[in-house]
Amino acid sequence: MGSDLDDGMKTIHALRFGLFALVLVFTAGPVPALIAQQDSADDAPVTRREFKKFLEDYQQFRGEYVQLKQENEELRKELAEIKAGVGDAPAVDWKEQLDTIAWAQRESILDDVREEIRDATEPWLPGVSNFTLGGAAVVTYQDRDNVDSTFGASFAPILLWKPNDKLLFETQVAFGLSSNETWLELDQFQISYLLNDYMTVGAGKFLTPFGTFWERWHPAWINKMATMPLIYERGLVGATSLGVQLRGGFPIGKTKLNYAAYYVNGPDFKDTSVSSTGNLGFENFRDNNNDKSFGGRIGFMPTPEFELGYSFLTGRVGDSGSRFRGTDTFIQGIDLSYSREHEAIKGRIDLRAEAIWVDTDRAIFTGPFDPLTFDNKRNGWYVQGAYRPTLSNAMLGKNIELKNVEFVFRYDQLRNSGPRPLGADHDQFTMGLDYWIQPNIVWKTAFTHDNVRGDKDENGFYMQFAIGF
């Protein structure tokens, strides 16, 4: 605003100066001429023509003088108006500018204060400085054919402790409810150490690095379906393993390779109940034999959003000293995943597929049936696709944003080589609809149609509410 006023002032000064100069010219100019005339010809009379000319000039100058005086008066008025801030359009812009600056400053100060409070309080919360919490809380409702419908709930916090830059302790304890009791389980416990930029060693009870589901997608706030893929739900590979692992990743040009190798107690053999005869068990916390199992996974990522993996696990499964002491198993798997946001479809697409083959040595079982032997193979696969319109701004009703809705589809297949009732073959379709309240809070609904070979179809309806910490 100052400069506008200055400009006004400048103009007025210029005008005043012009006026002054004019008056000067008008008054002083002719005077020396007259004097000069007087000097040279003191007594010479002024001719009428000369006088007339002088009079004309005088009248013209006077006219101009009056006009300038008027203009000067107008400018004075204008200046007074500007000073009073009347009709000053650019002032609005300036107010906005100043407001924006003030706002930014306020925000930045607030941020600093927030940060300082956080820095100041973190060490005071007892022991919090090296600890943090993760984990999940889940409530599920399921209504399946042939089974009574039920609610279920579990709570599984993860405690992370990082005593120094190389070491990390992870402990997950799960609390749950079943039939008429509460259960408590040590889900995960691992101490890991960063050996170098591309390699970490870990020991304890860790999620089995076989395929991708257990390690990456099983927590309920991550899993897009309220149910698990059949190959994992029916225990072709166990969720956790007890032992040691070596893992990491490294770039190869623009692509990336990641790996995990582990040496663990490994699976044991189930021959006690009719429905699970010949299957593998993975809760082998005190190994049933002297041979440890060995496994690994290698994943190749040509681009950050695409990964192709191969996994295997091999080991002795029979109890030492038993009939099955020589029985081994060899499990292999492949996995594929792709996840990316696309402008063209206004959202994120997420595709996963996994297949597992279990090949356990032939054995002779006895039990409530005649001695029985069969080629002990189980295998299965699934493919899951999900789409979430993350880039859409559409609203469904007042409070529901379309971008938080996710549509999921999964097809599962499971095959058992043993005779029934040792295991049934399944072909299962699942449709799911999720609503993401936050990135870590989800409400899921799912409907499954399970086509069981040689038996009645089984349908199921699921609802699940999950929070990840």
């Binding site: 400069s3 650019p90 812009d93 500018q97 100043l98 924006t100 600056i101 930014a104 400053q105 925000e107 930045s108 941020d111 600093d112 940060e115 956080r118 820095d119 973190e122 919090v128 400085s129 090296n130 600890f131 943090t132 993760g134 992370l160 402790w161 990082k162 990390l168 992870e170 890991s192 960063l194 170098n196 930029d197 591309y198 970490t200 870990g202 390690e215 990456r216 997608w217 927590p219 706030w221 991550i222 893992r247 990491g248 990743g249 490294f250 770039p251 990641n258 790996y259 995990a260 994943g299 950050p304 959003e305 990964e307 995943s337 996840s339 993401w436 936050q438 990135p439 870590n440 990840g468």
Partner: protein
């Protein structure tokens, strides 16, 4: 977050100064003048001083959305992210370099 606001503050203050001068000299062209200065300033500041921050942000958006939804950087404080980034480095088989850049991003965006 702090850097972002500081940058914004610099840009706005710079803009304000430029417009004060510009409005004195070129009254008629003020509005166009301002928008041009605006975009110029933003790009220079961003490319000159924020390259590691940008690399971290890119790695974060690519890697941390692979297994689950991207978690909000504001969820945790610096210390919390330090521990979780370590956890996720092990879980996601990230390299030390990826870990470092992502952590730096999270700690400045929280």
């Amino acid at each position: 977050m702090k850097t972002t606001w500081l940058t914004a503050l610099y840009i706005i203050t710079g803009l304000a100064t430029v417009s004060v001068v510009a409005s004195g000299c070129q009254k008629t062209q003020r509005s166009t003048e301002m928008t041009m200065t605006d975009s110029d300033d933003t790009t220079t500041v961003a490319t000159n001083s924020d390259t590691p921050y940008r690399a971290g942000a890119l790695l974060w958006s690519q890697n941390c959305s692979r297994c689950h939804n991207l978690r909000n950087p504001r969820e945790r404080g610096d210390r919390g992210w330090d521990i979780i980034a370590h956890h996720m480095r092990v879980r996601g088989n990230l390299t030390a370099e990826e870990h470092r850049l992502i952590l730096a991003f999270l700690q400045s965006a929280n």
